[in-house]
């Protein structure tokens, strides 16, 4: 460990790739044949519910865990078994893992201390890193005196000051309150972008992922369900599970008609324009369409070609009102409406707007 190589500046780092990673704990397969690549300067979000294997994947990428199968490479070099202290990655932990007995400055300088950087340079670099995250002059403060948002910035400065070859972030925003969280999303994206190394961050919050990531890998039961841009996942989900996780919307049975899909609710048939995922089959037997709340409209009373239903819940959401409408056949959809007129138990009719609607296999 004494011959730990110095971290190289980010520009030379190259692509971080996970290739067929599998990790089992006893009979339980936490990560199942997961592969993805993150280019220099790219931000990839690993999204999934708790227990989906995203944290295990991150720990394998960081070197805290060794996969049972598969490889981790950085710029083409196999680093699967390189321990974390020799990877030169920057990591931001979920609860930040700031050393409580050290000052802000000592926390930030810790990685430089480990690299035998002399005291003066350490101080200069740590202060610069703190300034970079908007914490000038906070170096002497105690960790306990910082707010959650400030702690997060210190954790980020500590990870960035070592000029990491890749950045790994475990639920970086989950401990912040909602208003701070939104502000931090933009800051985080800006700062990660500037570093120019592969950045992998784990989150269970798809809005965080949408706001920050270039691409999203959606994980469930240890498998990657789909990996693509936020738009791809939203508009062309690969399957029903992705559609159910990404964005809000009802998943309604449909008949695949090639360019359109036919949806029949309470005897009322409608043909909907559709999109398909890139590598989806041309014809899906057991098909569903995703109906998002802003892709349908609602009017009071019974429309001629509209699906009929009853408002079972009404929620004011800023500029719009979201109605939950129970249609025939037990199908429930959410409708976003500019009109605030309808009340609970009102009879309404719902019609699709122009779409297109994602078509997925069930």
């Amino acid at each position: 460990m004494t011959d730990a190589p110095q971290a190289r500046p980010g520009k030379e780092s190259g692509t971080l790739a996970l290739d067929g990673i599998t990790r089992r704990f006893g009979d339980f397969t936490a990560v199942d044949n997961v592969s993805f690549e993150i280019g220099a300067g790219e931000l990839l979000a690993l999204v999934g519910a708790s227990g989906s294997g995203k944290t295990t994947t991150l720990r394998i990428a960081a070197g805290y865990d060794v996969p049972d199968a598969g490889r981790v490479t950085l710029g083409g070099n196999d680093i699967t078994r390189v321990p974390p202290e020799r990877r030169g990655f920057g990591m931001v932990f979920q609860h930040y893992a700031l050393f409580p007995h050290m000052s802000v400055e000592d926390n930030v300088a810790f990685g430089l201390e480990a690299r035998r950087v002399n005291k003066v340079d350490r101080l200069i670099k740590a202060r610069a890193a703190l300034a970079n995250v908007g914490l000038e002059g906070a170096g002497d403060r105690a960790i306990q005196s910082l707010s959650g948002g400030e702690q997060q910035r210190v954790a980020l400065a500590r990870a960035l000051v070592i000029e990491p070859k890749a950045l790994l972030l475990d639920e970086p925003l989950s401990n912040l309150d909602p208003t701070l969280r939104e502000a931090m999303r933009d800051d985080l994206r800006r700062m990660l972008r500037r570093v120019g190394v592969p950045a992998l961050f784990v989150t269970h919050d798809q809005e965080d992922a949408f706001a920050i990531a270039d691409r999203i890998a959606l994980l469930k039961r240890g498998r990657v369900l789909q990996c693509g841009t936020p738009e791809e996942l939203y508009h062309s989900p690969a399957n029903r599970e992705v559609a159910a996780f990404i964005g809000r919307g009802a998943i309604v049975p449909a008949v695949d008609k090639g360019a359109t899909a036919q949806v029949t609710i309470g005897g009322v048939k409608r043909e909907l324009p559709i999109t398909r995922a890139k590598d989806a089959p041309a014809k899906i037997d057991n098909a569903f369409v995703v109906i998002r709340p802003n892709w349908i409209e609602m009017s009071k009373g019974a429309g001629v070609f509209a699906w009929r239903g009853r408002v079972i819940n009404r929620r004011f959401a800023g500029g719009v009102v979201v109605y939950r409408v129970e249609l025939a056949d037990g199908i429930v959809v959410d409708v976003e409406s500019q009109s605030a007129d309808a009340r609970e138990n009102d009879n309404v009719s719902v019609s699709p707007l122009k779409g297109p609607f994602p078509l997925v296999a069930g």
Partner: protein, 550 residues
């Protein structure tokens, strides 16, 4: 707790586990094996001996009685101090834990000076009532339980006080909001939630009383208990019988432990809230006066032993015979302690042996606690068991195990000759204090965020740097507190010492006993005061060390 899969555990775990197996398990196994060296012969001897029957029963009776006596004092006192405000509360709170600061043997001789046949309180009562004889005798089961209650109620008091402090006031408020009366709240909410604290402290008292040696040794009279019986058999050279008695004593402790675990098995909750509640001021004038008078009496009873030891330490040896108080006072006792090499020796012995044992405890227990808290490996359960084991074995049994194992040089069977050397006592102290230090360090490390270690590694820190800059600072409060407790226990240790000491390495406690036997009460008390001062000094040193770093 997540553990890093990329690190090897055995290179550090193996030496610690091997050391504990050798020092803790091996001697006790040797004792059990020794009890069967003659087939069942020694066991038959044990069952046939009326003295051993009496010892077993008396040991258990004393332990159970000590538990109830300690509960009877500790629980009400914890409630009184935790729930009510009255004049004198702060003073009472300050002295309530004082008995714990008395080394075991010192507490016993303080009681002798106070309540013994020629004790101060005894003589005052005798004079006042105009009796020709002492109104009571400080001997037998009653006397032993009396001393135990005084020294051991502190466990109950501390546990229940802590339980009351963590007790969420909103639970009580919720119960009264639901219409429960004071009595119903006490019976259905408060007491059930305090049961873990009560059970935990009761177990501690039971184990301590079962292994207690000093009180039965000094006040027992003709009374036999297992721990004294073991020393008797050993002194008489009946080692086989001593092994059986030791095995029976250790078994009683294990059975007691299992029984408590079983009684406490339903506990599935913790009092996690920091609820706290304000103390109620006693309004009624009469009750207030009564409480204050009661508090004053308790304070006096708690402080008296300490005062008595200090007073007697200035008494000229041999001058105190039939008077209520010692008639002549002098600095001679102290002067001799510091000037005569033979009298000074026990002090340097105790201090150096305590420091050696505590140093070893800090190193070994830190490594053990680190492994237990942060690493996942096949031997972790075993390690947990090994560091806790000495707690379940009475000190006399530990000592006899050491005496039976390290009495010869035989490297092939892992035996080293330590009996009769200086090193046997530090080893015994080390074993006795291992559970204490390990659990103190463990609790410190458990408060540490496990990802701090990962963070340090991720930033490129070597193992050594991670230890030095992250893990040890996190463990420091536990190391200081555990180290202090271990050093305090070791410097006044008596129970294992009495089995294993030699003239050359005799500790203070043995010298106190020797002076007592020679009826040199003043010198014995001076040693006791010195011991108390040592404890005080160590406490202050630990506190200032902790303050300087924090």
């Amino acid at each position: 707790m997540k553990s890093s899969q990329t690190r090897r555990n055995w290179p550090i775990a193996f030496p610690v586990i091997a050391l504990l197996l050798w020092a803790v398990v091996y001697p006790n196994a040797a004792v059990i094996a020794g009890s069967f060296e003659d087939g069942l012969g020694h066991w038959r001897e044990f069952w046939a001996s009326p003295a051993d029957h009496e010892a077993l029963i008396t040991s258990i009776v004393i332990s159970v009685a000590s538990v109830f006596a300690s509960l009877a004092i500790g629980v009400p006192l914890a409630f009184l101090l935790g729930r009510f405000e009255f004049p004198g509360r702060r003073l009472l709170r300050a002295v309530a834990t004082l008995p714990a600061a008395l080394p075991p043997l010192v507490g016993v001789i303080a009681f002798l000076f106070l309540y013994g046949e020629s004790g101060v309180v005894t003589r005052v009562v005798q004079r006042l009532l105009g009796m020709s004889q002492a109104p009571w005798q400080l001997r037998g089961v009653g006397a032993i339980v009396f001393v135990h209650a005084y020294t051991m109620y502190v466990y109950v008091f501390l546990f229940v006080s802590a339980g009351l402090e963590r007790f969420d006031a909103s639970l009580d408020e919720a119960a009264s909001g639901l219409g429960a009366s004071t009595w119903q709240r006490l019976r259905r909410v408060t007491i059930p939630l305090l049961m873990p604290a009560v059970a935990g402290s009761a177990l501690l008292v039971f184990m301590n009383a079962l292994g207690s040696f000093s009180a039965p040794y000094v006040f027992g009279g003709g009374l036999r208990v297992l721990s004294t019986q073991i020393l008797n058999s050993k002194t008489n050279g009946a080692m086989g019988l001593a092994y059986v008695e030791t095995t029976v004593l250790a078994l009683s402790a294990v059975v007691g432990l299992a029984l408590f675990r079983w009684l406490d098995r339903k506990r599935k909750y913790t009092l996690a809230s920091k609820g706290g509640r304000s103390r109620r001021t006693i309004r009624s004038r009469q009750v207030q006066i009564l409480t204050t008078i009661g508090a004053a009496i308790i304070v006096a009873a708690l402080v008296l032993p300490h005062l008595m030891v200090i007073l007697v330490s200035f008494a000229r040896d041999g001058s105190w015979t039939t008077q209520v108080l010692p008639p002549e006072y002098t600095f001679e006792n102290y002067r001799r302690l510091f000037s005569e090499a033979e009298l000074w020796k026990p002090i340097t012995n105790s201090v150096s042996m305590a420091l050696i044992a505590t140093g070893a405890n800090l190193v070994v227990c830190f490594v053990a606690a680190y492994l237990i808290v942060f690493r996942k490996f096949a031997g972790r359960r075993l390690l947990e068991l090994l560091v806790a084991l000495p707690w379940a074995i009475p000190a006399t049994a530990i000592a006899l195990g050491l005496a039976a194992t390290f009495n010869q040089n035989d490297p092939l069977t892992g035996r080293v000759l330590l009996v009769g050397t200086f090193w046997i006592l530090p080893l015994a102290y080390f074993i006795r204090d291992t559970p204490l230090v390990a659990s103190a360090v463990e609790s410190s490390l458990r408060q540490m965020d496990a990802s701090l270690e990962d963070a340090a590694r991720g930033l490129g820190a070597s193992w050594l740097m991670t230890m030095r800059r992250v893990i040890i600072p996190a463990a420091r409060p536990g190391l200081v507190a555990g180290g202090l407790l271990a050093a305090v226990a070791a410097v006044g240790e008596f129970v294992a010492s009495v089995v294993l000491y030699t003239h050359a390495n005799r500790p203070i406690s043995m010298e106190i006993l020797a002076q007592l036997r020679a009826l040199a009460f003043g010198t014995a008390a001076a040693y006791s005061v010195l011991l108390i001062l040592l404890v005080l000094l160590m406490t202050l040193a630990a506190r200032s060390f902790e303050e300087r770093l924090a």
